[in-house]
C-alpha cells in the first residue's frame, strides 16, 4: 500500500517498499487529511491530495464531497500496540548509522516478533488472490479494481490475462481492543518512573 509513482511502471523493491511504508505510516499518523485520503482510497493506492475540500469559504459551493475526517483513535491504538509489543516507535526513532548491522539485527528480531504478534492477534490477513505468485490469471470484465491493480500493458477491454506478481493482502477481520471512555489514545507508551 505505497504511493505509486505514475512515471515508473516497475513496482518498488522490498527496501523501497519498507521506506514507502514508513513514509505512508507517518503521513497517516501525522496528517489527518492524509489519513482521510488513505482511508477513502481504493485499496492499494493513496491518491495525490485532491483540492482541499474546504479551500475558502467564499468559493462557489463545491460538489458534494464524500471525504470525511477519520477519528485517529484506531490508528493510535495500533501504534500503541506496535510500541508495546514490538518497540516500533523506539526502533524507528533511532539513527541506524550509529550502530553495527549485528546490533540492528538483534533489535530487528524483537521488532519483527512483536509486529508479527500484533498483526496475528488483531487482524486476520488473507491474500486477495489465492493463486501462487507467477501463475497466469484471467480478470473478467467488471473485476474489482480496488482489490486487483493491473499494471504494464494496460490496453483493450477485459477479460485481461496476466501474470500474478503479488497476491495482495486483505483484512478479513479486525479485532482491535475496546477503549475506555476518556482514555487518551495519544499516549502511545506511558513514561516509566521507577520509585
Amino acid at each position: 500500500m505505497a504511493t505509486s509513482n505514475p512515471s515508473s511502471s516497475k513496482p518498488p523493491s522490498l527496501l523501497g517498499r519498507i521506506g514507502l511504508a514508513f513514509r505512508a505510516f507517518s503521513a497517516v499518523l501525522g496528517d489527518p487529511d492524509a489519513a482521510a485520503r488513505f482511508r477513502d482510497a481504493p485499496e492499494g493506492a493513496i491518491p495525490a491530495p485532491a483540492a482541499p475540500p474546504t479551500a475558502t469559504p467564499a468559493s462557489p459551493p463545491a460538489p458534494a464531497t464524500t471525504l470525511r475526517q477519520a477519528s485517529p483513535d484506531s490508528a493510535l491504538q495500533l501504534l500503541a500496540l506496535l510500541q508495546r509489543e514490538a518497540r516500533l516507535i523506539d526502533f524507528t526513532g533511532e539513527n541506524l548509522a550509529d550502530y553495527s548491522d549485528a546490533q540492528v539485527g538483534a533489535a530487528a528480531r524483537l521488532v519483527h516478533e512483536g509486529c508479527a504478534k500484533v498483526l496475528r492477534e488483531h487482524f486476520q490477513i488473507v491474500p486477495v488472490r489465492e493463486e501462487p505468485e507467477g501463475s497466469r490469471i484471467a480478470l473478467p470484465a467488471g473485476f474489482d479494481a480496488a482489490a486487483v491493480r493491473v499494471t504494464g500493458n494496460v490496453v483493450g477491454q477485459p477479460p485481461f490475462n496476466g501474470s500474478l506478481r503479488h497476491r495482495g493482502w486483505r483484512v478479513a477481520e479486525v479485532r482491535l481492543p475496546q477503549v475506555a471512555e476518556g482514555h487518551d489514545t495519544r499516549v502511545l507508551a506511558a513514561a516509566e518512573v521507577e520509585l
Binding site: 500503541a80 541506524l96 538483534a106 524483537l110 516478533e113 481492543p177 477503549v179
Partner: protein, 630 residues
C-alpha cells in the same frame, strides 16, 4: 429460549458451564444443552474481556489468574473500566500480570497454591506476601473469588439471555486438593455468586474433554482392562491420576482409582530455571541483569525453549533482552539459548529418564517455618511420577477384570494408556520423554508400552471437560466414578495410663473410607471422642491415598510414613445448649460427601438429634493441644 425437557423439574439451565480455575490461567467453557444431542455437543470457550493495558479491554480465551492492587494514584479509575463495571478496585487478568511484572509488591499470584497451603491462614489477608504495610492485602480466598467473579461477569455480559446464576456450573480443582482446599474453593465460588457449583478434579476433566473430542470413537480407543494415566503439568502444579476402564453389562465404565500428591511444580518453574541458566552465562561474560531484565529474559527463554523443543534441527536460538529505555538498538542485550542448555535444564532437570524405583529427593528444610509456598523440593517430574505409580501398585487389585494384570511381582502399577494435559506438553519432546521413560519402566517388568490418547487441547481441556461433566451428570454421557481418592482419619490419643513426660501414642480413627461417592454418608464409627462444651476442640486430621480397606471405625495403631499424611486439623465448638460449659460430652464423628464434592464432618452426641458442624481449620496454626481424647 428453548429449554431441554427436565424430568420432574421446571425449566432447567440452558448451558453447562465449566470453569478452570488455574494457578496461572483460568478459562470458561460451555455446552449448549438445548442444541446438543448425545455425543454431538455444541460447545465453545468464552472469550474473556479483560484489561490488557490501562483503558484498553480485549477478549482473550484465557484469563491470567493474577490480581494487581494498584496505588490510589497509579491508575485513574476510569482507566480500569470493564464492560460490566465502571471502575474497580484491583485489576484481574493480562494487565495485572504485566503490571505486576514491574511492581511485584502489588501483585497477587498463585492464589490457588496459597489456598491449599496448610500452614497459612487462607481466610486471612496475607497476599501479596511481601506487600508494603500500607497495602490492603487480600486473602487467598478473596483472590480466587475475584477470578471467579470476573468469569461470571464476562458470561453475563456475553449471554444476557441466559444468566450465569441459572446455569449448571462446574469448577475444577487439582485431584490432590485436601478437603479444606476443596471447601475453600467451593466457598469462593459461592461468594462469587455461583449457583450451587460442583467441583471436579482436573485430570478427570482432561479425560472428559478427551472423551468429548473423540466422540463415539473413544470406545474404540479405551478398552476394558485399560489403566489410563493422566499426567497434568500446568503452569504451577503437577497432578497425576489413574483411571481404570471396566466393562459392566456391556457398557464401558470409568473408575478413577488413584490420585497423586500435591506437587507445586510446573511450566513456570521450567522457564525460570532456563532464564537463570542464561543469566549465569551472561554474568560470566560480564553482563549482569537486573530483575526487570531477568523477567524479560524469562519471557524470551519461554519462546525460544518452545521452538527448540519443537524443532529438532535448531541448535540455538537468539534471545534479545530489550533495553528498558527508548534506546532499543544500543541498549538491548543479545544472547542465545542452545539446544544443550534446554536439554540439560528441562529434559535432564525436570524430566530425567530415571528408573522406576527412583523417588523424589527431599532436602532437609531449615528449622524456621517457611512463609513462602511449599514448592516441590525435587524438580524431576518423572521421579514424582515413579513415586506415584509405585505407591499405587495395588490401586486396581480389587477391580473386576483386572485380576490377570501382572500385579504379583510388579513394583509399580502398570498403566496401559497415557493422556497428557497442560501447556508444558505442547513440546513433543517432553511428552515423548515422559512416555519413553514410562515405557522403559513397563518394559523392565515385561509390560507393553502405553498407548497415547491423543487429540486433547492442552490449554483448554480442563475447562471443556468441566462443561462436559455438567452434561454427563445430566445423563448424557459416560461418567467417571470413583468417589473420594482418600480415606480420612482423626488422631486420637490411645487410652493408656499416663506416663509423666511421655506423650501418649497417637492412634488414627477412620471416619471416612476410601471411595465415598458424592452424595453419600459414611457410617457412624462406634468409637467416641470427648469434646468439651463451650471450648473449641481440635483434632489432628489425616488422609491416606493408599489404604483402601479401612472401614469406618477402624483404629490404626501405627502406619508407614507415607501411608498417612497429616492435613489441616479439624475443630468443633459445641454450643452449650442445655449443657454446662466445661462438661465433657462423648461424640461420634460422622462424614458425608456432598453433591458438590466436598467432605462434611459432624459431631454427633450419643443422645438426642443434635449435630454440630466440624470445621476444617484453615488458619494454618499447628495442631497441638486440645486434642480430643479417646
Amino acid at each position: 429460549m428453548s429449554v431441554p425437557p427436565q424430568p420432574g423439574s421446571g425449566p432447567g439451565p440452558r448451558y453447562c458451564i465449566g470453569i478452570d480455575l488455574g494457578t496461572t490461567h483460568s478459562a470458561l467453557s460451555f455446552i449448549d444443552l438445548a442444541a446438543s444431542d448425545g455425543e454431538a455437543t455444541v460447545h465453545g470457550v468464552l472469550p474473556v474481556p479483560q484489561l490488557t493495558a490501562p483503558g484498553t479491554v480485549e477478549a482473550q480465551p484465557l484469563l491470567p489468574s493474577f490480581l494487581y492492587l494498584p496505588h490510589a494514584d497509579e491508575l485513574p479509575a476510569a482507566e480500569l473500566t470493564l464492560p460490566w463495571q465502571a471502575e474497580g478496585r484491583g485489576v484481574v487478568g493480562e494487565l495485572a500480570r504485566s503490571r505486576g511484572a514491574t511492581t511485584p509488591i502489588r501483585l497477587v499470584s498463585s492464589a490457588k497454591s496459597w489456598l491449599s497451603h496448610a500452614r497459612v491462614d487462607r481466610r486471612g489477608a496475607i497476599l501479596p506476601p511481601d506487600a508494603p504495610p500500607e497495602l490492603d492485602r487480600v486473602s487467598p480466598l478473596d483472590a480466587s473469588r475475584r477470578y471467579l467473579e470476573h468469569l461470571r461477569a464476562a458470561w453475563d455480559q456475553a449471554h444476557p439471555e441466559a444468566p450465569f446464576s441459572e446455569q449448571d456450573v462446574t469448577v475444577t480443582i487439582p485431584a490432590s486438593f485436601d478437603p479444606a482446599a476443596r471447601e475453600l474453593t467451593l466457598e469462593a465460588a459461592n461468594a462469587a455468586g455461583y449457583p450451587s457449583p460442583t467441583l471436579l478434579e482436573e485430570p478427570q476433566a482432561a479425560l472428559y474433554s478427551w472423551i468429548q473430542s473423540a466422540g463415539s470413537a473413544w470406545r474404540q480407543q479405551a478398552r476394558p482392562g485399560d489403566v489410563i494415566l493422566v499426567v497434568d503439568v500446568g503452569g504451577g502444579t503437577s497432578d497425576f491420576s489413574l483411571i481404570a476402564v471396566l466393562e459392566r453389562e456391556g457398557s464401558l465404565e470409568l473408575h478413577r482409582v488413584a490420585v497423586g500428591e500435591h506437587i507445586l511444580l510446573g511450566g513456570d518453574n521450567m522457564d525460570l530455571a532456563l532464564a537463570h541458566v542464561v543469566a549465569r552465562k551472561l554474568a560470566a561474560a560480564g553482563t549482569t541483569l537486573d530483575a526487570w531484565q531477568l523477567r524479560a529474559l524469562t519471557h524470551g527463554c519461554r519462546g525460544a525453549k518452545e521452538k527448540l523443543l519443537a524443532d529438532p534441527e535448531a541448535l540455538a536460538l537468539p534471545i534479545i533482552v530489550p533495553s528498558r529505555g527508548s534506546k532499543l538498538i544500543g541498549g538491548s542485550i543479545r544472547t542465545e539459548l542452545t539446544r544443550e542448555e534446554v536439554a540439560a535444564t528441562i529434559l535432564e532437570g525436570f524430566f530425567p529418564a530415571v528408573e522406576a524405583s527412583a523417588r523424589p529427593v527431599a532436602r532437609v528444610r531449615a528449622a524456621l517455618a517457611q512463609l513462602g509456598l511449599p514448592y516441590a523440593q525435587d524438580a524431576a517430574v518423572t521421579r514424582h511420577l515413579a513415586a506415584f505409580l509405585g505407591r499405587q501398585v495395588g490401586a486396581v487389585a480389587e477391580l473386576q477384570g483386572f485380576a490377570a494384570r501382572p500385579a504379583a511381582d510388579a513394583s509399580f502399577i502398570h498403566p496401559t494408556a497415557l493422556l497428557f494435559n497442560g501447556g508444558v506438553f505442547k513440546s513433543r519432546l517432553l511428552a515423548e520423554r515422559v512416555a519413553g521413560t514410562l515405557d522403559q519402566w513397563l518394559h523392565s517388568e515385561g509390560s507393553a508400552p502405553v498407548r497415547l490418547l491423543a487429540g486433547a487441547d492442552l490449554d483448554l481441556a480442563v475447562a471443556r471437560g468441566a462443561a462436559y461433566y455438567g452434561y454427563v451428570r445430566r445423563g448424557r454421557g459416560v461418567r467417571i466414578r470413583g468417589g473420594t481418592a482418600f480415606a480420612y482419619y482423626v488422631g486420637v490419643e490411645s487410652s493408656m495410663p499416663a506416663v509423666p513426660g511421655i506423650e501418649p501414642p497417637l492412634q488414627a480413627l477412620c471416619i471416612a473410607p476410601f471411595g465415598m461417592e458424592e452424595g453419600t454418608e459414611a457410617a457412624l464409627p462406634s468409637l467416641e471422642v470427648g469434646v468439651i462444651v463451650g471450648e473449641p476442640v481440635r483434632f489432628r486430621f489425616f488422609a491416606s491415598s493408599v489404604r483402601r480397606h479401612d472401614a469406618v471405625g477402624a483404629v490404626l495403631d501405627g502406619w508407614a510414613p507415607d501411608e498417612l499424611r497429616e492435613i489441616d486439623a479439624i475443630s468443633a465448638t459445641l454450643a452449650p445448649q442445655g449443657r454446662s460449659p466445661g462438661e465433657m460430652v462423648p461424640v461420634r464423628l460422622h462424614a458425608r460427601v456432598t453433591g458438590a464434592g466436598t467432605l462434611e464432618l459432624e459431631a454427633v452426641p450419643r443422645s438426642g438429634e443434635e449435630r454440630w458442624k466440624v470445621e476444617f481449620d484453615v488458619r494454618g496454626e499447628p495442631a497441638e493441644g486440645g486434642l480430643g481424647g479417646g
